[in-house]
């Protein structure tokens, strides 16, 4: 080999190679270390019903036009009362299904007679806007069987959840994806 063909590695190239190696090593090490902690622990957003203060921001702050948060019902916690603080307005004159006596602004709660004196309450999710008015009513006067949950068929799992950012009760948290709901009653055990 002729001496003039021997391309000596220039100082700058050598420097660059070294730095590149370091950077790659750094990124790989960081990833490896964090991966050690991450595997099989994917997380999703959820509301802790015990912390929720029903501030109403779930309805307004979600990036979706109709919030991913909806009201759900823990039937085994419900008292099936005729006078339901979550269904009727506190100043309602009659305990019927008339619009002027209903608490839900979008009429999303269905009330159905089961047997004397019990009534079943069901949430129509297509209509629910997640405002939490019924949750407040049920929590103040009843067993607290109505509560808000992030519905994962709707939630986009934003990296920075817009509701969590403004949640007045700091009730949003990331939960493991294999148990994505924080349920009340027996289903929550």
């Amino acid at each position: 080999m002729k001496p003039d063909e021997k391309q000596p590695v220039s100082r700058r190239d050598f420097f660059r190679d070294g730095l590149r190696g370091l950077a790659a090593l750094g990124v790989a090490t960081l990833s490896g270390l964090l991966m050690h902690r991450s595997v099989s622990r994917r997380t999703v957003w959820q509301i802790d019903p015990d912390k929720c203060v029903q501030c109403g921001r779930c309805a307004t702050d979600c990036v979706l036009d109709v919030s991913a948060v909806k009201c759900v019902h823990a039937y085994d916690v419900c008292g099936y009362c005729e006078l339901c603080g979550g269904y009727s307005k506190p100043d309602a004159h009659r305990l019927d299904t008339a619009a002027e006596n209903q608490l839900c602004p979008s009429g999303a709660i269905r009330r159905q007679f089961i047997e004397d004196p019990y009534f079943e309450y069901t949430i129509d999710e297509a209509k629910c806007i997640g405002c939490g008015k019924c949750v407040k009513g049920c929590g103040s006067f009843g067993n607290g069987s109505l509560y808000l949950q992030v519905r994962h068929d709707r939630c986009l799992q934003c990296n920075d959840c817009a509701i969590a950012r403004n949640c007045a009760g700091e009730a949003f948290r990331r939960v493991p994806a294999d148990r994505p709901y924080l349920l009340k009653g027996e289903q929550g055990l």
Partner: protein, 570 residues
């Protein structure tokens, strides 16, 4: 010019596509603009008047409130409600559909614009000649610009910082000044087991050294306590608190310190997680369910029972919060007393498994911090200022531990105990004293910062079974369950004197004005000087068995007997 030329050269097909793209461009631009305007209008309309929260509805509701049975009004509301909900869901549909159409419009717009551009594509060409001086000028100006923006950034930061008012620091001092009583205030009271800080020292003056319960000499009052308990009285201003419990229930009592009449009693029940009666833990008769002494900070009183029930009550007996800490796994029954530090209630919850030290916010009952602990104990925490550092000192069946009361951080520990430890620690003048039957009495020099604690001396003759030591800078008093009282030199462990009495001691000695008050199990109060020679000042009796430690405030002494609460004073 260049553009037209190149377009001219294109074949007919390109020209046709170009024209179509131009048409699509114009149409999609107009379409997108219209949709965009509509969407923005929709947004402002909804913002100005939320259909689900309209003022018209509020007016109708107000009217309905006046005439609840007005059928016409009801119909009106129902109609408006239906309308409002329709309007709401329609607007949602509009936003969804509008957004989709807008997106389509924009995509078509840019796609046609791109197509036109592709057809009109210019030949690449150099920039107009600018000469080499422009290159250098660019570099110089860029450098200058960066220097200026860096300087601008600094100026901006400083001015923003100057304009920002930070209100947090002042808030903290204002808060800590009012949220809990000052140290001087606490020293005047008897806020928990063995007084302020749990160290056995009180600031009471002029306490009586003699009385007679039969003639009433120096006895101000005597009141019955409904339920039994091993817990001691605690006093804040005019309020005296004791707790009592048996298999039928747990109670907190509040007496008027002036008259002895009961202000209120609180039945502890209905706590989530509290075990039902038939599941109460077995406890020995000598412990009972009300062994832990209550604690108070003048705003609330806190009481813990053998079932793990913990309540916070206001000074009128109203419940602030309550919780069950989990039934203690304790073969005699839980007996560690509570202590309040600033805004934290400290609970020593040592048991056979899962021992914990818990700090609970006095206002809310929420846990502020928690520390795992090891073996079981029956002793109580003391909280003392050691060279300017507040330390929370606990004993258990192996060791003495010191924690930072604010954070729960372990400061130091020393493994110098053994057996079933019930005596708490005592502190005086840089030395912590611990003792237990079958172990030794040890004086430990409290380490500075990171150093190891040093055992200054040890003594293993007459050791307490339950009664805690009492120390000042000169002497240490130890009282045993079989009636021996020893006085040791606090610095060396040398025995100054020894006395034997007929009854044993469970109660702990307390100090006021250089007089030690030590109650024996038979109800006789041994009052003697805290000194290297034994000088008795009196041995009055209350006439019933006593297992608890006396409380004191101002010139009054409060003693909880088997069934009565006594108040003595001159």
């Amino acid at each position: 010019m260049n553009t037209t030329e190149s377009t001219m050269q294109k074949p007919f097909r390109s020209q046709w596509i170009h024209a179509a793209a131009r048409g699509a461009l114009a149409v999609s631009a107009a379409f997108s603009l219209v949709i965009c305007v509509l969407l923005i209008a929709n947004y402002f309309q909804i913002r100005a008047l939320d259909p689900l929260d309209s003022p018209a509805m509020a007016v109708l509701y107000a009217q309905l409130e006046q005439n609840p049975d007005d059928a016409q009004l009801q119909e009106q509301i129902r109609a408006l409600d239906l309308l409002a909900r329709k309007a709401y869901f329609t607007s949602k549909w509009q936003i969804k559909t509008g957004g989709f159409l807008l997106l389509c419009g924009i995509v078509v717009f840019f796609a046609s614009a791109k197509t036109m551009q592709e057809i009109e594509k210019k030949q690449p060409g150099p920039e107009s000649l600018s000469g080499t001086s422009a290159f250098w000028k660019d570099v110089f100006r860029a450098r200058q610009a960066i220097i200026f923006s860096g300087a601008g950034l600094i100026v901006l930061s400083i001015s923003l910082a100057a304009l920002t008012y930070s209100g947090l620091e002042t808030g903290v001092t204002a808060k800590s000044g009012s949220a809990f009583p000052a140290q001087e205030e606490i020293m005047q009271q008897w806020p928990g087991f063995r007084g302020p800080g749990g160290n056995g020292h009180g600031l009471a003056t002029g306490l009586p050294v003699s009385w007679d319960v039969n003639t009433g000499t120096h006895m101000l009052w005597k009141a019955a306590i409904p339920k039994p308990g091993m817990s001691s009285p605690v006093i804040w201003d005019d309020y005296v608190f004791v707790t009592g419990a048996d298999k039928d229930g747990e109670q907190v009592y509040c007496y008027n310190a002036g008259t002895g009449e009961m202000r209120w009693q609180h039945e502890v029940r209905g706590i989530t997680g509290s075990p039902p009666r038939e599941q109460w833990p077995d406890v020995s008769a000598e412990t009972g369910y009300a062994a832990p002494t209550a604690a108070t900070d003048g705003q609330a009183v806190f009481a813990l029972f053998g079932t793990g029930d913990l309540v916070g009550l206001d000074m009128n007996g109203g419940r602030l919060w309550a919780k069950n800490l989990g039934v203690p796994e304790n073969h005699y029954g839980h007996s560690s007393s509570l202590i309040v530090y600033e805004n934290l209630l400290i609970v020593q919850y040592d048991q056979n498994e899962n021992s914990r030290l818990i700090a609970i916010q006095t206002a809310s009952g929420q846990t502020a911090w928690e520390q795992r602990r090891g073996s079981i104990s029956w002793s109580s925490p003391i909280c003392v200022d050691i060279n300017g550092r507040m330390e929370l000192i606990l004993t258990n069946s192996e060791s003495v531990h010191s924690y930072d009361p604010r954070t729960g951080k372990l400061l130091w520990h020393s493994d110098c105990l053994y057996g079933e430890v019930a005596p708490s620690a005592a502190y005086a003048d840089g030395l912590v004293f611990v003792a237990n039957e079958y172990a030794t009495a040890s004086a430990i020099r409290v380490p500075h910062s990171s150093a190891e604690p040093e055992i200054v001396w040890e003594w293993d003759e007459y050791l307490p079974n339950t009664s805690s030591p009492l120390a000042d800078s000169h002497v240490l008093i130890l009282a045993t369950a079989d009636g021996f009282v020893n006085c040791l030199n606090a610095k060396t462990g040398e025995v100054y004197w020894e006395q034997e009495f007929r009854n044993g001691f469970y109660a702990s000695p307390v100090l006021a004005e250089n007089h030690v008050y030590l109650m024996d199990m038979g109800g006789v109060m041994h009052i003697f000087n805290m000194d290297s020679v034994y000088v008795s000042a009196g041995e009055p009796s209350v006439g019933e068995d006593v297992f608890s430690t006396p409380g004191m405030k101002n010139s009054r002494l409060y003693i909880r007997g088997e069934s009565h609460l006594f108040c003595f004073g001159s």
